[in-house]
Symmetry: C2
Subunit: 526 residues, 2 copies
């Protein structure tokens, strides 16, 4: 070899972790404590087991399961064996799961006890499925292989040494439009995301990271990689539930947690909160929505040693695009707006804001957020045209509208497709919704554009009132006028007796709300 090249791979994190922390815990799942020595051994054996089931280079292992330590192991076992993992959304219907299995051409499915009831139907429908493996405690049901038995009888396989732009995980996202769409993320993607965030995350051999989000989302799964890269201990919970989360933090001396603001809110309101010692927390990461200031001010009492970090991202970007750093929560005078931003790009990515023709716009001007860097996905699985369209010009087009200020802080205005163009003005539905939510009688709302002969689109608010509240259209519009410019206020208001339609993760499905209005004409697409 006269010229050295090296492909970064995810499995070297395991070898490094083992050298540093051989007999210490790599993964903690309730009573199960897997040491780094065991972790590497089990991953290697699992790869042996996968090979014995016919798993070949480039293949995918699908997983349908709640969080557990075996699921964590599959994240690495699948790449050690030369392929990748394909985590399935546990909120999906059998039909959707079968669509993902067929689309991903997964021949092996790993399933826990919570999803056994779906199995007969899945087996009947999924065309290419050859093996089902049970990844839970207790004996495997008839006709299903046992993960534990497979591991016990398999020899550790040699690491296939996948890396670089080999796919490490395949995540099905979106799904509101029907056809399955999977994001291919590579070893490089995952690595660059972690190391580009490392300066603020500060994870190392002393860290104990907790994971309570579902492992079928990258927000959860990504923490597996981060903990391995940093050789930290990973504590997993089946889901976010109180007081389990508080018990785990106190008992395991957790240092790194990730919550969305609603979870934090429920922690802050937990009646027995004062009983818990949460002083081990060093970093509190929260999802991409600004923290209400009232909540922000209360946090230091409960988490006295914690720094705060907001992260904005999406699966296609592995996932972190920008971070609002701890120091940004206490900005210098004249820079208070930073607190409402999604922070600055992580060190490994470039962000710019473009007009519909792809030209960069000046600071302060809203446009589409586009991103370039080694964290941009390899593409959408088997969707070359959508990939080419999304990554045109070498930049990932996020579909989010936003602007950057003079200091490179990113402000997210809206999803491009949720933006309303009325009388030539851009109106960001999120801004109108924020105004609506400030009314004490409004429980839930969504703002959409509906066809209008004069204005092109007109702003329509759809509102669910709190129980017992009464409110008229004129009251709603008047309320908005006190907060935002007149042209942004709803032209019409609709009161819904039912909760608004939502996706699995709880996002309001505006597509569905728009359907009635746009059925006979097509809405522009930016």
């Amino acid at each position: 070899m006269s010229e050295n090249t090296y492909r970064m791979h995810l499995t070297n994190t395991l070898r490094r972790g083992r050298r540093l922390r051989r007999n210490e815990a790599a993964v903690v799942d309730g009573e199960h404590r897997i040491t780094w020595d065991q972790y590497v051994d089990r991953v290697a054996r699992q790869a042996g087991a996968l090979h014995s089931l016919g798993f070949e280079k480039g293949d995918r292992v699908a997983v349908l399961s709640n969080n557990n330590y075996r699921y964590i192991e599959i994240y690495f076992g699948s790449v050690w064996a030369g392929g990748c993992i394909c985590p399935l959304n546990t909120r999906h219907s059998v039909k959707e799961i079968v669509a993902c299995l067929d689309d991903s051409e997964s021949r092996i499915l790993m399933v826990d006890s919570n999803h056994l009831s779906m199995l007969p139907e899945i087996r009947q429908e999924a065309k290419g499925l050859l093996h089902v493996v049970y990844i839970d405690d207790g004996p495997a049901p008839d006709g299903v292989l046992s993960y534990d038995e497979l591991l016990a009888k398999s020899k550790p396989a040699e690491d296939a040494m996948c890396g670089g732009d080999d796919v490490a995980c395949l995540y099905y996202t979106g799904g509101t439009t029907g056809a399955p769409k999977a994001v291919m993320l590579t070893h490089d993607n995952i690595w660059w995301n972690h190391v580009g965030s490392a300066s603020e995350m500060r994870m190392n051999v002393d860290s104990v990271a907790m994971l309570s989000g579902p492992l079928f989302h990258l927000a959860g799964g990504g923490r597996i990689y981060s903990a391995a890269i940093a050789a930290s201990t990973l504590v997993i919970l089946p889901q976010f539930a109180l007081p389990d989360v508080l018990d785990a933090i106190q008992h395991e001396r957790v240092t790194h947690v990730t919550f969305v603001p609603t979870m934090l809110n429920s922690i802050m309101n937990w009646p027995e909160l004062a009983k818990y010692d949460l002083s081990s927390i060093r970093l509190l990461v929260y999802g991409a929505s600004p923290m209400p200031e009232s909540l922000l001010l209360k946090l230091p009492e409960v988490f006295p040693e914690a720094r705060m970090l907001q992260a904005y991202g999406m699966t296609e970007l592995s996932p972190t695009v920008s971070q609002l750093r701890h120091e940004d929560h206490m900005p210098p005078e004249g820079k208070e707006s930073r607190r409402r931003s999604a922070g600055q790009p992580i060190s490994t990515v470039e962000i710019k804001i473009t007009d519909p023709d792809g030209r960069e716009v000046p600071a302060g001007t809203v446009g589409e957020i586009v991103v370039r860097g080694p964290t941009v996905m390899k593409g959408y699985w088997k969707l070359p045209e959508l990939t080419a369209e999304t990554l045109r010009g070498g930049w990932m087009h996020t579909g989010d509208a936003g602007y950057m200020d003079e200091d490179g802080y990113l402000f997210i205005a809206d999803r491009i497709k949720d933006m309303i163009i009325s009388g030539g003005e851009n109106i960001y539905s999120a801004e109108v919704e924020n105004a609506l939510y400030k009314h004490p009688d409004i429980a839930e709302c969504a703002v959409i554009g509906i066809p209008d002969e004069k204005w092109g689109e007109a702003v329509r608010a759809i509102i669910v009132l709190k129980s017992g509240a009464t409110l008229q259209e004129a009251d709603v519009i008047a309320h908005c006028r006190t907060l935002i410019a007149g042209y942004k206020c709803p032209k019409s208001v609709e009161f819904s007796a039912d909760a608004l339609p939502k996706s699995g993760p709880g996002k309001i499905l505006k597509n569905k709300l728009r359907e009635r209005f746009w059925s006979d004409q097509s809405r522009r697409v930016n």
Copy 2:
């Protein structure tokens, strides 16, 4: 594009830095303050200037200069223009400089006022040199181009978008054996080194990094890249000198500094130290030699907000291999030995210790330190055989002997070639020297192996006494016996009236000391 791939490049740090800190200082050199906007513009113009001088893709720009802001710009201008920089050692003789120019086939040389006197001879001797550019204040001498004028009249070039495994810098190292030997480092190498260290370095847009080491070493040059990646401000000094360093820290509110222990020692003993406010320092990085405990204990008084970080590395590894973290300086009970170690591998590299047959040895056993990862150099320039030998099996063979403890802390025993094998026992010259240095009368010493019929090699100490001191061979041996095992103690002692021969950076040249003894027989090479 249906499958996205992205090559990481160093120049995107400039675009990102400009978006985040447009009008703030990127580089501070005395009175010169270069904003990020100016930095990117000047780098792009410089690339234009290089092109106008015939610089082509893959070419090298050699630089012979003390530290200044133009030198910093060349680090980026050379890659923006499609090639790389080749920094030359300012301590080299004309003959050595010409050898490097010839070997690197550099057609452009940038030179400051301190090196003009060497120019006539260099021009006469260096075969391929076409252009010399003056990179200092004041007018350029006759026959030499002016950097400032070239920039003023050049148009900004498009970024060549070099990246991935393209070479970004070529460093001549070693040089004690005569023939020039240059290390090729790529964009990927540099990036992975920085991001693998980021969790402990914690540099960001608020950081002010100071550079006082020479820019022809990666230890200095690497700080340019780190500051750019983190979008920090970089404050440069011509060299380490007191009180200039203290003035700069106080005046620029420097947050990140790198010193070797002797520099720190001189700071701690500076008579007017108490006058200075050094509270801005957040991180104090020191070179790869353990910090004397007495010094360690005094640091918090002088640098009240500083964390400490020891780094071990070498140019071939871009350069950081391992870090002794701040917390490791105050290890838990029973782990006190960590303080004497070189810490643990950074997150992006794997380290193992091997026997001469390349097999990994158990924890605690001394062997050769070998390293694998994306920070391993591309190779030695035009030396394919040496590259293949050094990188055999995919691991960089450092030539350093050491061991890892059970927790993955690395302990450096010696250079393999300085290790003495006497009666079948490995003796680490560094260990014997450490024992000798504890004697109050010894100013300088070196321990080498000399031929011995009975033992193969015998331990020989060569000693320079402090002025006025008298000491006999038997006293020296007796002193060592109180500190180390008998077989490690010198069998013979030689007193030298002159200082021991040293390389430019001050390393004692043991090759030279051994020469007399081994001239008629060859010494084993591990």
